[in-house]
Symmetry: C4
Subunit: 479 residues, 4 copies
């Protein structure tokens, strides 16, 4: 008699139904900055198809700042005719034809960060224009916002105008907020956006502190800045771990892999920890000159499967010790854990110290949350034996990756080291114990055991743990 | 000639006349999270009656998040028909029939924390519905608040809408704010609510720091988070001690006793210090599987009498020393004091260090506030002799508690270790020197004396001090 | 041709023309709290006349909280008929008849701090009522302000309503804001008030830290609290030194001298440093039981003359060293300086360390501000010789003070240790080199010299420096 | 078909078209404070012409506070007739006749800081009056702002009123905000102003901390204060480096060189680092008594050319080490770099430690930004050889400067140490390798090399680096 209620499904919702797992794709900013044009966008899209990146899930081509030359007399933005001689609509059509999607950029201010026209006050016109062009995604920046910040309400209200304008177009457009974590968006943006940056801009350094990125915590950061290192951004995540949700992801910024500022193992850490925290994965380098080693990183399906897991959560940092500093004064080790939708648990042993470390993860550390979450009965995880799979063990070799780049690869799309997620979803692949997604079994952990691994300097060991079976009954006092 | 004034009685007021001493009861969240249903609520209520918990004062059964499935076409919330096949009205009726009261949950946002429909914008409809169901209590959360926070005014205004809606129903409904201390509610919520959380959510750990609970102070905490330990929450109280008042209590969050994450002595600290600070006492475990030891903690009437004292104040932390850290890096000892309505004083010697400590409380420490509060004449307390009663000395034995659980107890409801506050109020009991409320005399302190006790690791000694009589005249220079 | 301009006289203004030097008087709170009544107010006023305190400048009798019993049906406040059987108007008349003025208390909230009716929303009615009673002063508190704080604008707007209401009465009413420094009133209250508290409430302790007073700086203090020690409050002043101005004083809270919590030398520090910083001087003890020693402190005209100097400025802390902690962990020494309206300079050597110290003040330290204030020519002060007068040297003896209290004093009102500022203003007295105001010459400082003095533990040496004459010409390189 | 778009030129814009490089001139405050009058302004202007300062680019004569006596009955401000017997319009005419421009002062509050009438609420009238007087510049202070601060929005809105009023006059008026960095103007003022102060007021000290300047960072500074040293202000710049832009400069406050509080080498640091960070350069001393040494600092065209470079950027602090403290507890060394519009790079080796230091700048440090800015290909700078020019090597000798002051100089306006930028712009001069702008070549740095220099205590070495030619091809692994 009270009518038909609308059902809300907790844990799988999204304000606009989009982006239930983190978006993946490519963005030109990190590598090209303002130097964007039709050729770059289209050739990159084609390269991503050819390299198998599209089929791994990287399906958004996102154009960043510097694409317009102003507004016309009707107030509509005009694309730069030199950069885009056939117009942006033509680009979106061609990208759609490749089975990919197209992302647009603007700022919730009177100018973009590059001082091109911004969308503040023009939200409806701009959203309508982009929808008419077939745009699928908006990265929405925070520059020149006329001081409309300083409380969550001021930022929420400003970003909400564009949210409503996008929805009003009727087109599915993923809304990616880029307000650098100002005014704590992780606490309010879920109801208006699909992702939100939580730090100042990344730069291509593993851990060097830079004066222009003054905060070491996301929370209460008065000035996000930019030139934030991989480790700086990563260490801003644990406090806001609970605010990553299906449909809204804390965006750790675009990937720097391939830009030359870090070692191979550092790039592996970068990719792994972004994936582990359900950050959007936007490739930020020149696809046209991608090295085999870097392709092998971007293409690890076992890591991507972790990122695209329906659990849609961020990792918990169980412990962190500041030790063994390098020449920048930085050094630390940490253990991160995350529960997968299918009951697996993933752990990362991160060595950001200056020397090789033997690192340990105890069952109690790994399942501490279960033990303290209303566990009036002992959590079953603690009494199970878990098999341990190394998620980087099947990384493509340089030779294999070079062959993919050269178009001479003979590897199947579903070999041990390659995967086609367009053909078989990550969920299906995991359910089928696909080797490319599971990695290689390297051990197991007994109920009161410890997993140990030697982790090299500036490296990470990441492992998927799968229970061997049902928990054996435990006596109460085993706690 | 100026008409008949309305009289305000300082110290005994409440914005709505309710909750002059802290609310007591049970809430399903800590142990069951979203797994709430009719059976759980009704069986728990019956168990609480059977175990004597109702008659100790635990009279609210509070249902937490995840009870609805949406709003109907008229905008009214609809309970989950699977969880509540007979409706919530039926549950409140049955709980009322047991002599208990029923609490409801919602959030001052567009969603609850579990992403069910929230009450922001629906305050009147929701309050009316709950009143029609016979609801006696509302826990009102802070998730998905659309950025309406950042200044006290923004939070006050938002929470005030529900306050007015509840009052407008005409039903007595205790209003329990759960905004995690955001925007300093201890400074403004007294005029609109009956209690207010002052920290991020508790978790079942004595003192382990967790990255998800980044603040160590309530004041100026930009991100309350969750997974806050007992000691973390406790140490946020001293700065806001003055903002606990009759009718408005700083809520330290629901009790974890029984959930398995702490030792018996740690749970004793947890219960004691919550009571000592006039926190609401909401049992947060499975009553159906309560162990004898945990029942003995929840059932200590001497501690509950302290909590339910009409003084309605929080404790003063007179000193704290950071010493002797354990494996989590935490270690400290502290002295807490509080004045009772009848002139008694209660002191707690808390050992949160890693080893047994001989701890001291001097008369000057205990009565320092009196000495510096406009004491142009020497405070009488300093010249009196005080008898010292140990409030845990009469704790029920495991055997006694097991008998209560098994229904085989032969102890009277008013034995040394049991009490029925429905029959005899705590005030009457204290006035009659009831042994169950007074504990056991373990010593006395002379005017310039010191009380000493050996306190084990992660334990507390809590003592009620009663003056032996009138102060003897003192010479001025005794100060 | 542009008409007759209105002239603004910088440095001598006040938003309402009142309080060009700090207010002085008595307030019942520190000693009596809510226990205020007609007898106390009138007997105190008479005592202050008899002890010569009125004629030293202490001319406001300020009644604090707990005087009303509610509002009548017309919305006007009603005084407590038990405490004030003849009404408050009768009290103001009698106090006026004694040549003194009367101060009233309320709060910019819905309740006072003692939970009596507050004035928020009733500003005009309350101001009108008080004006009709002959009230000369309002202490306006900050409790229960409905969350109307968090930005300077929110606090300014709220306090401004009462400012306008007081002005609209047409009566001269000194407006003393008591918002504990919330939202930085030192930066905005000058245009609406005559003084403003800059810290949480004082308590009668020299330097003991107390958890309830969590801030050590005024600036950015999220929770002023109370139980702030003399040294805690004093050390909050240097950062906001420039915001003390004629007509608006940073109020360090009422004096505790006489309440028993500090030693004689600590009370001397308290009185001296309040005076040195142009804080309002409100006696906060029981005048009826004032000891000779405490009367001698409150009655030192040399210190009061410093406080009442037309320069109306706060002192500059030239240096501070944290040294030699006592049992509370506190220990420090510091040098404070201040320029007088007549060209004299006052310096304070404050020893808040745990042992006697030989302390030094160099000419460069004393006149550092002059040297760095656009001194493209060498500041004359550095090349002068200064005579040094000890401002406590002429303190009344205990015997003299006892005679004043007993009514048996034979000292003239203008002896070396007594003064009648009603008869001769402090300005005239200083101009005439009155010994009671100048203290005793104890040395002189040559152009490149240093003044040294042995200062006992928890004591202060305060000295008035007077130039011996014109500066001799100096060569440029003397700098 | 979308009409003619307006073109935005990134990097060379300005909200009102003015101040594309930092303003230069003179302001009376630091040296004269309120003692401003017609004679001072006009004689200073004439002196600046005579000393060649105007032709070096110092073309604004800015009058600071204390010039008015109130408002007339029409609400217009009235100049002080004693100070300005011929009116201010007469002064602007005469200054214009000297080929210079005139700056005015007011405050975005009800009073100026000196408590003269402020412009809040009178913006249009005041802007109109100033435009009618021929005013070219407004310094707009922040005192007595009625609490209209606390969020960026409150400050933006308040300062925007004057911005619009100035624009509405139709006259070109440079708008110099002086809100001390409150509410982060570097993040929002670009669209409404031409420069904005980012710190509390400077005082004439190299590095002495002063209690009245409590912040060491610009970001999140709750109380900017004043008496901020050169090093204090300088160290607030790196975090906000990106917010200096053509048309909007972060104003480090007026120069103290000549006021006597610092050594010659400290003044050189002051001038150099202000120029290096594109701060406005406002001489703040008495031009009439300027010493030869100080004239030689203000007149170094190589440093001014750096400041006036079209790159319009602030320097990046690449590293900073806190070492070797002096008697104030301060000691540090740092490396700063900046890219010039013509491809040159400038580096500053700053020794603010207490002893002479051998300091090094490696190629990697200097070009670290290039290496990590999307450098998927190696940045060419790292593979080039750079010639190093010392920008202070051609400083005018004391004898030369004395001759300029005495009017007896025989040096050409375009000698090695002098320059006339009115005749030949700095851009043209740099393009022509003018020696006065380039300094003296002191070495070169090879691709993997290091530049080393011995830098004396409290001194700076500043060097312009110019590439010897095209980069040689590098192998990828050279990174």
């Amino acid at each position: 008699s009270t009518g038909t209620p609308q059902v809300v499904i907790p844990g799988a919702s999204s304000y606009n139904g989009l982006n239930l797992v983190p978006q993946m794709g490519w963005n030109n900013w990190n590598a090209f900055h303002c130097n964007v044009n039709e050729t770059l966008l289209l050739s990159t899209a084609q390269n991503m198809v050819d390299l198998g990146l599209r089929d791994l899930g990287y399906n958004y081509i996102v154009m960043d700042d510097c694409w317009s030359i102003g507004r016309n007399s009707s107030g509509y933005l005009v694309e730069n005719p030199v950069k885009f001689p056939n117009g942006i609509k033509d680009i979106t059509d061609k990208i759609h034809a490749l089975g990919m999607k197209f992302g647009m950029y603007s700022s919730a201010g009177v100018f973009t960060c590059g001082r091109y026209p911004g969308s503040l006050g023009f939200e409806t016109q701009d959203a309508d224009l982009w929808a008419s062009w077939g745009v699928d995604y908006l990265k929405y920046d925070n520059c020149f916002n006329q001081g409309q910040s300083g409380t969550p309400k001021l930022s929420f209200d400003r970003y909400n105008v564009m949210s409503k304008a996008l929805n009003a177009t009727g087109r599915d457009i993923v809304y990616s907020m880029c307000n650098w974590g100002n005014d704590d968006p992780y606490d309010w943006a879920y109801t208006i956006a699909n992702s939100g940056r939580m730090s100042g801009d990344i730069y291509d350094s593993f851990n060097r502190p830079d004066d222009r990125c003054p905060c070491t915590e996301a929370v209460g950061c008065a000035w996000p800045g930019f030139h934030c290192s991989v480790m700086n951004i990563l260490n801003k995540m644990p406090a806001i771990q609970s605010r990553t949700m299906s449909g809204y992801f804390n965006d750790m910024d675009m990937l720097e892999i391939g830009n030359g500022g870090q070692s191979d193992s550092e790039y592996v850490v970068h990719f792994t920890m972004w994936a582990m925290n359900s950050s959007p994965l936007l490739i930020g380098t020149n696809i046209g000159t991608l090295s085999p080693a870097n392709l092998a990183i971007y293409s690890n399906p076992a890591i991507i499967a972790l990122n695209q897991d329906k659990s849609a959560g961020a990792a918990v940092r169980k412990w962190r010790y500041v030790v063994d500093p390098d020449e920048t004064g930085q050094g630390e080790i940490s253990l991160w854990t995350r529960s997968m939708a299918n009951g697996d648990t993933v752990i990362a042993l991160l060595n950001a110290a200056n020397t090789t470390m033997m690192m340990n993860a105890t069952m109690n550390d790994i399942f501490f949350d279960q033990r303290t979450a209303g566990a009036y009965q002992a959590p079953p995880q603690l009494s199970q034996t878990w098999d341990v799979y190394d998620l980087w063990a099947n990384r493509m070799t340089e030779e294999e990756a070079a062959a993919v780049i050269n178009g001479t690869s003979t590897l199947s799309e579903n070999s041990t080291s390659r995967y086609n997620a367009t053909a078989t979803s990550y969920i299906e692949g995991i359910a089928a114990n696909n080797t490319a997604l599971m990695g290689v079994k390297v051990g197991s952990i007994a109920p009161s055991g410890t997993f140990s691994a030697e982790i090299a300097r500036h490296s990470v060991g990441i492992y998927r743990l799968r229970s061997q079976g049902k928990a054996s009954p435990r006596k109460r006092d085993e706690l």
